[in-house]
Symmetry: C2
Subunit: 299 residues, 2 copies
């Protein structure tokens, strides 16, 4: 059975394409690793790279990318709208298919140790890999950002999990963690009334009593005059896409509003959609191993 | 973009496991070919092997398997309940993912030529690869079976597409073709009245005015006391699983009967289920390339 791990590191560089290209080339140079996508944002001054492979090669590629970013990016000169603590700001490992969260946590710890002691960059473990409950939450790890962490790192509660007890002079610090695949999922309503989208978002999101692994906002698609519930499904094994869709459909009906469509932004694991097919077709005894492409990948 | 072709040859041997194992080993010996499954039936005296790979290796494996079957199986001694014309009775090529039917037709012609002239076994092209309209239908190609075809082959309308104008003395003849993936799909009804299942089967199948690519029967699952519509979806791109499911649901409602579940028998392409997810979630602008596993296979 083939184990796959996705890795989505965020680098504090979104204005110099040649620097981002060099980091991506470093990742691509590792055999067995596939770069699936990369995006940069100039105002955030940040790049996000998505790659996939078996655990060993993925960890190696993440380490080499962090080493490359430490050489190429100087946090003393970095400015951008997005919160960040280092040249390689955050590295999440994500289990795909047969991989488990436990394996990704172990991978995060191994990588954290290497970045900490080989690159002399302090590392904070976060989300499923966190060693302290308050570090499960990435914004808490990033509190004060690069500039504030320079002095805060000396406080006992901000001590890194690995590496020196001070920031790297140019690369700062890095958060390394493990989390479930995140599906960016939007549901479009048959209304131009954003108030309805906001009310529905509130009813489904964890922060106001809805599903704990759902984040949601109501927004307006001005060009289409369509109100949208924009959603992060942070753990589709807990709350599947069909449950989100059906809950929104039911809530919308209360306002006499239809769901006119939904959209998946970016990539998602096959399983997240097969779960929906399984639900709606009322499948009995279905196994993902019946999918030809799954068989191919497993061999 | 990676092209994949599935091949599901049927061999006239279901009673000597060592012979079937030898044929499967021949297929496995071709690099780049994956054997996904094999089943034998003693009363049919027949084996069905499913394998997958890129077009070149798949064609080579099919040729070597036909050569092996010609050596190991003697049609003069063959008896079985299933209609057959040769040691390798039928070889269909099936486009998966980005492959096209045209490519599978070309592959069938190339393989047919090789089996015909290198192995001296007459070959009939069938379904999408047929050179005459009446040969699109496999039962028409098999008419008279091995025994009857010995003399019938001399008639102009039964002349093979490739190979000698007479049967191979022990291996008979082989049908080679191209067809869409077939999904074996059953829908279970909340009733023990098989008459309702038969009526619904009649309403959806092509032979009585329903969907041309659907074959269906009403049967009784005695152990569960559940009436079932058992279906072959012969072209899920024409009639998707969700349309079959919803049509059966609507027809069943006319009898006050619910659909209690459905089941997929054996393997199916990912796309057939993603289509269902796409329909029920009302996805806008979704592309199969957003599926992680699809990206992996394409690289």
């Amino acid at each position: 059975m083939r184990k796959l791990v996705e890795c989505v590191p965020n680098f504090s560089e979104g204005r110099r394409p040649e620097v981002v290209a060099q980091i991506i080339d470093t990742i691509k140079s590792v055999e067995g690793v596939r770069v699936l996508g990369a995006s940069t944002d100039a105002s955030h001054n940040r790049a996000v790279v998505t790659f996939l492979g078996e655990p060993g090669p993925v960890k190696n590629a993440a380490f080499l990318a962090a080493a490359s970013a430490a050489e190429l990016i100087n946090m003393e000169e970095h400015q951008g709208a997005h919160p960040r603590i280092g040249a390689t700001d955050v590295i999440p490992f994500i289990p795909i298919g047969e991989s488990t969260m436990e394996e990704c946590v172990e991978l995060a710890r191994e990588l954290g140790r290497e970045i900490g002691y080989k690159l002399n960059i302090p590392v904070y473990l976060y989300e499923a890999a966190a060693t302290r409950p308050e570090r499960k939450n990435l914004p808490a790890v990033r509190k004060g950002e690069y500039e504030g962490l320079k002095t805060a790192i000396t406080r006992p509660e901000r001590q890194p999990d690995f590496g020196p007890p001070h920031l790297h002079p140019t690369a700062g610090a890095t958060a390394v963690g493990a989390r479930p695949p995140l599906v960016a999922y939007n549901i479009n309503l048959g209304t131009a009334d954003v108030v309805i989208a906001k009310a529905i978002a509130k009813s489904i999101r964890g922060s106001s009593g809805g599903y704990p692994s759902i984040k949601a906002l109501g927004v307006m698609l001005e060009d289409r005059q369509v109100a949208q519930v924009t959603i992060n499904v942070c753990n589709y094994k807990e709350v599947s896409l069909h449950r989100v869709f059906e809950t929104v459909k039911t809530e919308a009906a209360r306002y006499g509003v239809n769901v006119i469509g939904s959209e998946i932004v970016g990539l998602l694991p096959m399983e997240a959609l097969l779960d929906a097919a399984d639900f709606y077709l009322r499948l009995e005894g279905f196994s993902f191993n019946q999918v030809l492409e799954k068989r191919l990948l497993d061999q």
